[in-house]
């Protein structure tokens, strides 16, 4: 196997950057496994180093990849590495990046690196925790670089287990329930994805996503072959499309399939909530852009598909916002706000134009920043008070001014205040949906979704009021120390980026530009 890998490395244009980026954490994990359990400081240091390597590489990638390339298809990918993995089934180790993956890959590495510091206070099972943590990072980064469907699936499933243990062992009081619920929901999605994967292989004879995307472009290809099986009057491709859609939508999550999210978030330890909201949810959206839309482009162009996806998006936005408004648990509120914000991603996809698609991609990035901050904010308070009850909070701005200042940036980004990152992407999505000619009802849905922003502002401003303003509800709050250096370090980078990409949005949007256009070309737009 090593021989084939080495042989395959010859066909690499990336010099192994992406492999290092993907597997550095897992090497860190192996090192950690050989460290004695008692040496917690050493374990944490190794974890930080192992998470730093991908971060450094991803920053370098941000500048180094070919931004002008339209991405999406094989010839337009950067830093490609290719090697035969399971030759009898044509399965390859095939990785590469384009404008769709580089920003999100950077976000992933960023969140993982700072989540290490957020995990510094983990008390029990430090060794196991960081081993699982790093395995999770490998799975996640692997998903963002994989260009082979089988490889993608393996990485996708690789994330599942560490997450299950991280929630189930290091979580809150109902951790086991939450972990199993998370596992089963995700597995449901994965199984549907697996069915689609096998079906595609049997129809097209390849797992290569780039090849499949190219086939989807060609009306003569086997993807559209007349002999393709049809079940219940549906042709082959719609089945594959909707199976994949549900597979990814569970992760996003869309409204009827979202109930795992609040439970998982509430029970997970802070850094894991951060990763879950910041990165894992984005995998759903990323998977749609990388796999679902290129392969199912003909289905995606159907008006009913567009309407369904847009409706799901709008419903998620409004429903998530209303439910968030009713929460008394700070963390649950943030969790439901994630449902609401991720609805914008779907709405942006449905617009099927440049603004909408770019907005959706940027929304994933920005929501990664803001939700990471929000969960860190909750975590800071929880570490001190050991409760998250909004009704019992209050007056923290006077006792913890630094904390309040950072929190404001996160919360206002989440609201979508102009000048902060969240505004740009939500505006782009709404603009795209409003001006889209993909479906007649998109304009109405855009207006409804804009109401979602009002709702978001409603519950988040109310939250600010309840948490930070007024007099401390509990005399104990006055004794709380303001956030320390470690907590500042974990939050500050996100705050800086929120402001940076809010003031200079083109820094982020220009990363997507060409690749989103490439994707739209595939979709016939």
């Amino acid at each position: 196997m090593l021989a084939t890998l080495l042989q395959g490395a010859a066909s690499s244009s990336g010099g192994g950057i992406l492999s290092v980026l993907t597997f550095a954490p897992v090497i860190g994990m192996l090192v950690i496994l050989f460290l004695p359990r008692s040496r917690t400081e050493a374990i944490k240091t190794v974890a930080a180093c192992a998470a730093f390597v991908p971060l450094a590489l991803s920053i370098w990638l941000w500048f180094a990849y070919d931004k002008a390339s339209p991405g999406v298809l094989a010839e337009n990918m950067s830093f490609v590495e290719q090697a035969s993995w399971i030759p009898t089934l044509g399965i390859k180790y095939y990785v590469g990046v384009d404008g769709l993956s580089v920003p999100i890959l950077f976000l992933s590495c960023l969140i993982f690196f700072f989540a290490v510091f957020s995990s510094w206070t983990i008390g029990k099972g430090v060794k196991g925790y960081f081993a699982m943590f790093l395995l999770l990072e490998t799975g996640t980064n692997g998903c963002f670089v994989a260009l082979d469907f089988f490889l993608f699936y393996v990485f996708w499933e690789l994330m599942l287990l560490p997450m299950y243990f991280l929630i189930g062992i290091w979580g809150g009081p109902r951790r086991e329930y939450a972990a199993i619920k998370f596992f089963l929901y995700t597995l449901l999605g994965s199984v549907l994805m697996l069915v689609a994967l096998v079906a595609l292989y049997m129809q097209c004879g390849t797992f290569d996503l780039m090849q499949l995307a190219a086939m989807a472009r060609d009306p003569q290809s086997t993807l559209y072959a007349a002999g393709a099986p049809s079940v219940f009057g549906w042709k082959f491709l719609p089945w594959v499309f909707w199976f994949l859609f549900i597979g990814f939508a569970v992760k996003v999550p869309i409204v009827p399939l979202h109930t795992w999210l609040p439970d998982a978030h509430v029970e997970a330890p802070t850094p894991i909530s951060v990763i879950l909201a910041g990165i894992l949810l984005k995998l759903g959206g990323y998977g749609m852009m990388r796999i679902l839309f290129p392969i199912g482009s003909s289905v995606m162009q159907q008006p009913e598909t567009i309407l369904t996806i847009a409706l799901i998006g709008t419903v998620s936005i409004l429903y998530g916002a209303f439910v968030a408004m009713a929460q008394t648990d700070f963390k649950k509120l943030v969790a439901y706000s994630s449902v609401s914000h991720m609805g914008f991603v779907l709405l942006g996809f449905a617009a099927l134009n440049h603004q909408g698609m770019t907005g959706a991609a940027a929304q994933m990035f920005n929501h990664g920043l803001s939700s990471a901050m929000l969960f860190l904010i909750v975590g800071v308070f929880y570490d001190r008070a050991h409760h998250r009850d909004l009704g019992r909070m209050g007056g923290l701005a006077s006792t913890m001014p630094k904390y309040a200042g950072l929190a404001m940036i996160g919360i206002f980004t989440s609201i979508g205040l102009p000048g902060l990152a969240g505004f740009v992407s939500e505006f782009w999505v709404l603009l795209g949906a409003f001006s889209s000619d993909a479906h007649g009802s998109l304009r109405l849905l855009a207006i409804l979704s804009a109401l979602g922003i009002v709702l978001t502002a409603g519950y988040l401003l109310w939250t600010i009021q309840r948490v930070f303003l007024g007099k401390p509800k509990d005399p104990a709050y006055e004794q709380y120390p303001d956030i320390d250096a470690r907590e500042t370090v974990t939050q500050a980078p996100f705050a800086v980026l929120c402001v940076l990409f809010g003031v200079l949005p083109f820094l982020l949007l220009s990363q997507y530009g060409a690749s989103v256009q490439g994707l739209l070309d595939l979709l016939g737009r």
Binding site: G128, E157, L158, L160, L161, M202
Partner: protein, 492 residues
């Protein structure tokens, strides 16, 4: 002697195992003292002399006829004579005070047999050895057989290892039974190894019975344990019914085709009954024969609706036996199913029969998994999981049956490859999981899931290993359970 030397070589690993059987006894009797040794020598010497006489007779017969048919049953004779001697003598004298020596002998013998098999396998796979029939047409040494013989040896090695450490076998009445138990274990695997390299119904049935009888005995080997006795009895009762059904099926096939070799039966069906539907009496009976033959194997691999024995037997049997049932026994029985499916599928009524088999596979998966949900005993849980897994493998077999590729089912064919990968994966993860179960049962004195709380904290390494096995059984990448499941669900 030269005439049947190739025949001997072909079953080399089995012969080595037979020798191992005898050695197990010999070494321990050596420690027993002279008085007993004399009686033993008589019994053992008789058995050995019988075998030698048989070899001599066979060679004379072969020289006289110029054929190689004289020694068809030699491995069985050696095996049966050896184990017979082992049973009687072991029960008389063997106090089982030392479980290490017989256990080690079995493991060593397995290793030697595996080394011999490696040689055979290399010849088969690099093509220097032509796939040919030995012992008349009884032994058909092809790649599929070699692989599954290897799997059986793997199973034997680990189950013998488990036996050494399995604590309930060291207590009370059962402690006297370690060598007997090992004898059963070896014999059962021996039967399995013969089973995977034959396409002759008669020989096949004999091999299956060697496998089955020894399994029955093992299941009830925990003397004084009610659940073990119940397991043994239940296994025998269900098993004999299944054997009866299978034999009836074989007799129907023989009645219609006049052939005992599966390939010949295929040709005869194509020639004589190719277009017979179920409407005609003959067609009905013929396909009933096929179904009954399959049904007998369904029982061995615990497919719904032939699964009822599995939970009780898995739970009650000594854990090494449970591991053997899940790993070795199931794998070799599936080989039989693969052979029947590839030869008898795809002809005549076969293509429509495969829908029935598909339903069986689906029912088995669903039932096994649902029933496993509410189990509190780890072994019982694995029993239901093994039922479900039989369904997964059956998916691959259904594909083979639908294709009915005739002779082209060797290890190159994708379908049987899927089944093989799955069987290997399944054997590995089950052996591992049952190893952990034994470790836990020794430590906690319980096999209830509820008593295992906090395993991950108390012994992280074992806990982590168990996680890997269970994840693999779940079928998630990047474990072998996923790699096995994938080709089974698309057998092309």
């Amino acid at each position: 002697m030269e005439a049947f030397f190739p025949d001997l070589v072909a079953v080399g690993p089995e012969l080595i195992l037979c020798g191992t059987l005898l050695l197990v006894l010999m070494v321990d009797l050596w420690r027993m003292g002279r008085g007993h040794g004399f009686v033993w020598l008589v019994a053992f010497g008789t058995a050995l002399a019988g075998c030698l006489a048989l070899i001599h007779y066979g060679s004379v017969y072969n020289e006289a006829t110029g054929g190689t048919d004289g020694l068809v049953l030699l491995p069985e004779f050696i095996g049966i004579a050896g184990s017979y001697a082992l049973f009687t003598i072991a029960d008389l004298w063997f106090r089982g005070r030392d479980r290490w020596v017989p256990g080690a002998i079995v493991m060593l013998g397995t290793a030697i047999a595996a080394y011999r098999l490696w040689g055979i396998g290399q010849e088969v796979f690099d093509g220097t050895a032509v796939v040919q029939d030995h012992w008349g047409a009884l032994i058909h040494a092809d790649g599929l057989g070699v692989l599954l013989r290897g799997l059986a040896l793997l199973s034997l090695f680990f189950t013998a290892l488990f036996t050494i450490f399995y604590r309930p076998m060291q207590r009370g009445l059962a402690s006297r039974g370690v060598p007997e138990f090992l004898t059963c274990l070896v014999c059962a695997h021996l039967g399995g190894m013969l089973l995977v390299q034959t396409q002759h119904l008669l020989f096949l049935f004999l091999a299956l019975e060697i496998l089955s009888q020894c399994s029955y005995l093992q299941a009830g080997m925990l003397k004084g344990d009610r659940r073990s006795s119940e397991a043994g009895l239940k296994y025998v009762l269900y098993g004999s019914m299944a054997s009866g059904l299978m034999l009836f099926g074989f007799s129907l096939l023989y009645a219609f085709t006049g052939e005992l070799e599966i390939p010949a039966i295929r040709s005869a069906i194509i020639a004589g009954y190719g277009d017979l539907g179920l409407g005609q009496t003959e067609g009905l009976l013929l396909w009933l024969g096929v179904l009954l033959s399959l049904g007998g194997v369904f029982y061995k691999v615990s497919l719904v609706p032939f699964h009822f024995w599995a939970p009780d037997v898995y739970e009650g049997s000594p854990t090494p036996t449970t591991a053997f049932l899940a790993a070795g026994s199931k794998a070799v029985s599936f080989d039989l199913l693969v052979r029947l499916a590839t030869w008898l599928g795809g002809i005549g009524y076969g293509p429509r029969l495969f829908e029935l088999l598909a339903v069986v596979a689906a029912l088995t998966m669903t039932y096994g998994n649902l029933a496993a949900l509410r189990q509190g005993n780890l072994k019982r849980l694995f029993a239901y999981s093994s039922i479900a897994h039989a369904g997964y493998v059956m998916m691959g077999v259904v594909g083979l049956f639908a294709a009915g590729s005739g002779g082209d089912w060797t290890y190159q064919a994708a379908g049987s490859k899927g089944v093989l990968v799955y069987l290997l994966a399944y054997a590995l993860m089950n052996l591992g999981a049952f190893g952990v179960v034994i470790y836990l049962a020794n430590r906690a004195g319980s096999e209830e899931i509820g008593d295992l709380h906090g395993l991950g904290w108390k012994s992280p390494a074992i806990g982590a290993a168990m996680v890997v096995f269970l994840v693999s059984l779940t079928g998630l990448p990047p474990t072998v359970g996923f790699v096995g499941k994938l080709p089974c669900s698309w057998p092309r």
